[in-house]
């Protein structure tokens, strides 16, 4: 799997709008250079909101939305943005999408908005979004940039969901608020709800992820 350099693009049949790089980009963003497990970006939010699966899912959705949107806009503007102020432009674009999502949550999912607290707003400073805009969207066409945003968003969201699932299951005996482990024989592990539990869970998930991913091709050479 890792040896496939240029997989044939199924979606648009070879060199289409994305130049045949869609699948490779998708795989890179969500697997080979997974933002959380490989690049170690966005750790803060991964620790903060994963105490319940529901929160993790919403946070993952928020990041996918912001990342796809900001990558698209930044990519469209990439030739118009003066290099010296590109960071400010990127932040402005990202902030717009974050505020849209935040307002959406406040309008339709008030409880969830309260639970996530400041962490939705903090997506503005999330290194993943900024990093993709800076490293990818500025050099690539819009469609490919969107795919990259989607890939990284998915890579982040899936790991968040895994951590959220286990933290809620072990910490409260529930999944999505539904009791799976009954009171009689399972004593909820309070640590998993607290921040230290998030560190343990994240560390273990990253270890397992990297075990299956195998070492980087660059590391292999050495």
């Amino acid at each position: 799997m890792a040896d496939m350099k240029q997989p044939a693009c199924v979606s648009c049949g070879g060199a289409g709008l994305c130049g045949g790089k869609a699948l490779a980009t998708l795989k890179d963003g969500s697997w080979t250079t997974n933002p959380l497990a490989v690049q170690m970006l966005g750790i803060c939010s991964a620790l903060a909101v994963t105490n319940r699966l529901e929160n993790s899912l919403v946070m993952g959705a928020a990041l996918i939305f912001v990342c796809v949107g900001s990558n698209l806009i930044v990519s469209l503007l990439r030739k118009a943005i003066p290099t010296r102020i590109r960071m400010i432009v990127e932040v402005a674009v990202i902030a717009t999408f974050v505020i849209v999502f935040d307002q959406f949550l406040k309008a339709f999912y008030w409880d969830m908005s309260k639970q996530l607290g400041p962490y939705v707003g903090l997506i503005i400073t999330n290194c993943i979004v900024m990093g993709r805009a800076e490293a990818f969207a500025l050099q690539n066409p819009p469609l490919l940039s969107m795919i990259d945003g989607l890939a990284n968003g998915i890579g982040y969201a899936v790991i968040l969901a895994i951590i959220g699932f286990f933290r809620e299951l072990l910490g409260a005996g529930e999944v999505m608020g539904f009791r799976l482990l009954s009171d009689g024989w399972y004593t909820p592990n309070q640590l998993m709800i607290l921040a230290p539990g998030a560190f343990f869970a994240l560390g273990i998930v990253i270890a397992i992820f990297n075990h299956f991913k195998g070492p980087d091709p660059e590391e292999k050479k050495q």
Binding site: T187, Q190, M192, L194, F200
Partner: protein, 355 residues
């Protein structure tokens, strides 16, 4: 190599072994040292002690075996370090803890406390204390439920002035803390309890209650030179000085002159601090873990005094009745720094000519 050279050069850091000393023999020595406390634990807590020690040792050994298999490393069960970790972990758990909780503790102690770092010798923190901290944070209620020793008359527990629940009771440290908080005065309590903390006929963690047994085991290790004398001396000395200073300098001493030596109303007497809680277990068996303590003599002093003072600070000022666990972990974390601070200057001056 050095036969022809008669010049005596002493370089103390790094363990330069000069006798047939293996990890295995050291660990067996520690196990022998722990034997009296184990006997006391079995005597006072009966089946609880047997179950907990067995489960902890088994889960620690299993975790070590599994971790080695996963990493495709050679099996390291033979050095008995996992067994020692298991016994110390069991000693630091409440007697009535369910077996599955002890099992989780053992797996965390070895898995996350030791093997994640690369196995014995690479761990930053004392594995047993990592396991215990994990349990204390995870299962708060279970980890603070203390059983009355089987030898104590269940209707009238020796340790508390009033009748208590027949099954569980506060530990001496927890009780003294409440007494002080409610301004009952620690004086009366002092006399009743001190004798029990020496023999071990009190509530508390499985292996920490009997001061005599722990001291006996510690003495054996000291005589065998398995542990460095600086650690227990530093821990106990610092704790004693701290407790004595608090006791003597306390403003609210009872006015009756004949009782003044044992009369502070806000602090329990210093010896009580040494015999109660996990102080002796810590001084002889936990702080002396060769992996997580500094290498040099000066570093050991800093480490040991730090453990003693932090323990006492948490006990006297902090919210928790006992502070050994956090004191050890904090000083473990500081150990690399201490080692750097206490670097021994090599013979012939510092490299680079500035010495």
């Amino acid at each position: 190599m050095g036969q022809t050279n008669k010049l005596e050069i002493r370089v103390s850091p790094s363990p330069h072994v000069s006798k047939a000393l293996s990890t295995r023999s050291v660990m067996i020595d520690v196990l022998i040292g722990l034997a009296p406390a184990l006997a006391a634990a079995v005597y006072y807590f009966r089946v609880h002690a047997v179950t907990l020690v067995a489960v902890c040792v088994a889960s620690c050994a299993a975790a070590e075996w599994v971790c080695n298999r996963i990493r495709r490393r050679a099996n390291t069960l033979g050095d008995f370090s996992a067994v020692v970790t298991g016994v110390i972990l069991a000693f630091s758990l409440p007697p009535a803890l369910p077996w599955w909780a002890a099992m989780v503790g053992g797996c965390v102690a070895i898995g996350i406390g030791k093997m994640v770092f690369g196995g014995l010798g690479s761990n930053v923190f004392n594995p047993a204390m990592v396991g215990r901290t994990f349990m204390a944070a995870s299962l708060g209620t279970l980890m603070t439920t203390w059983t009355v020793p089987a030898t104590v008359d269940p209707v009238m527990p020796k340790v508390a002035p009033q009748r208590l629940d027949a099954r569980t009771q506060a530990t001496p440290l927890a009780w003294s803390k409440t007494a002080i908080k409610n301004e009952l005065g620690a004086t009366t309590y002092n006399r009743q309890i001190f004798g029990s903390t020496v023999t071990g006929e009190v509530g508390g963690c499985l292996g920490e209650t009997s001061a005599v047994a722990l001291a006996l085991g510690g003495l054996y290790l000291l005589i065998r030179r398995t542990i460095n004398w600086r650690i227990p001396a530093g821990v106990l000395g610092a704790a004693f000085v701290f407790a004595a200073a608090a006791f003597v300098l306390d403003g609210d001493v009872v006015s009756e002159p004949s009782r003044q030596w044992l009369a502070s109303e806000t602090y329990v007497q210093p010896l009580f601090h040494l015999t109660s809680g996990a102080m002796l277990l810590c001084a002889f068996f936990i702080a002396t873990d060769p992996v997580t303590m500094p290498l040099t003599g000066r570093g050991m002093w800093i480490f040991a005094v730090g453990v003693g003072i932090l323990t006492m600070l948490i006990r006297v000022v902090g919210e928790y009745p006992e502070g050994v666990m956090y004191a050890i972990l904090l000083m473990n974390g500081a150990t690399p720094l201490i080692d750097r601070f206490c670097k021994v200057i090599p013979v012939g001056g510092k490299p680079g000519g500035k010495g």
